[in-house]
Amino acid sequence: MIINHPLLGPRDASEFTYLGDASLIDRPDWQAEDAQQQFHDYLYLRDNPAGEHRELWFHEQGDRSWLVVTRNTLTHEITGVELARDVAMQRGRGR
């Protein structure tokens, strides 16, 4: 499997490690009123789609960047690769 890194170009998947669903970026506010419920959902509830899935990959044997990879779980086709940092900032995170 080849991951087309936004900065470095195509790299073999063996250089990467996999973390999981990209929704892990949206860590809840620990001071919210319903923080316990939010963290329960954040930790335990995952979609398990047969098809397009957005997930976090770490380029451990490369430039050490976190990526959000859009992958089809049925075909392994990769249709999008973004820097996780950019995705997090788009969602309103400071860095």
């Binding site: 900065l7 470095l8 170009g9 195509p10 790299r11 073999d12 063996s14 250089e15 044997q61 490369g62 430039d63 050490r64 960047s65 940092r85 860095r95």
Partner: protein
């Protein structure tokens, strides 16, 4: 007072094969420069003032015109500086030149450096390196961190037919074995 002899990681290894040579490179200082968040422009300005070169983007390296230093763009927020080592501590030498704009770490003794050169060097590397090393894709001066035989390697193309390979000193003999085996396999 015991008298100590400094050994290089690979004992000054050098071997010639048909069409290529594999040799250890010694005497280079390696300093990691981490960019402080929000002060990237100041650091780039200090590098420009000190050596007259731009700050390299990720995947490229830039050598000063006088050839005294080469800066490798490894990843967002981090570059390596390579230069000839002298008596001064490498991280202090960098700080003296460009001031307090980055976080400097001396990594000179952490890496073993191999140079693989000759017109068949790419042929020898293609068996252990998953990167596309074709000169149209990986140009002279190009730099990349990858794996060969499960060992982390920084690859720098310093000439059309020559590559500098940096790998961890702790596993350097295994890395040398992988490179030499690959060189033998194309004979």
């Amino acid at each position: 007072m015991p008298s100590l002899v400094a050994n290089s990681p690979l004992g000054d290894f050098r071997q010639e094969f048909d069409g290529l040579e594999v040799a250890e490179v010694t005497g280079l200082a390696i300093v990691s420069i981490a960019t402080p968040h929000g002060r990237e422009a100041e650091l780039a300005g200090a590098v420009l003032d000190a050596w007259g070169i731009e700050f390299p983007p990720v995947g490229a390296s830039i050598e000063s015109t006088a050839g005294e230093i080469r800066i490798l763009g490894l990843q967002p927020g981090q570059v390596f500086a390579l230069f000839q080592r002298d008596d001064e501590r490498p991280a202090e030498a960098i700080a003296r030149k460009i001031g307090d704009y980055g976080y400097y770490t001396d990594q000179s003794d952490s890496w073993a450096i191999l140079r693989i050169s000759g017109d068949r060097s790419r042929e020898a590397l293609e068996r252990i390196c998953a990167l596309d090393l074709h000169p149209d894709v990986f140009k002279t001066g190009g730099v990349a961190r990858t794996v060969m035989e499960h060992l982390g390697v920084i690859v720098l193309r310093d000439k059309d037919d020559a590559f500098l390979l940096l790998s961890a000193r702790s596993s350097a003999p295994s890395f040398l074995h992988a490179v030499v085996t690959s060189a033998k396999n194309i004979q």
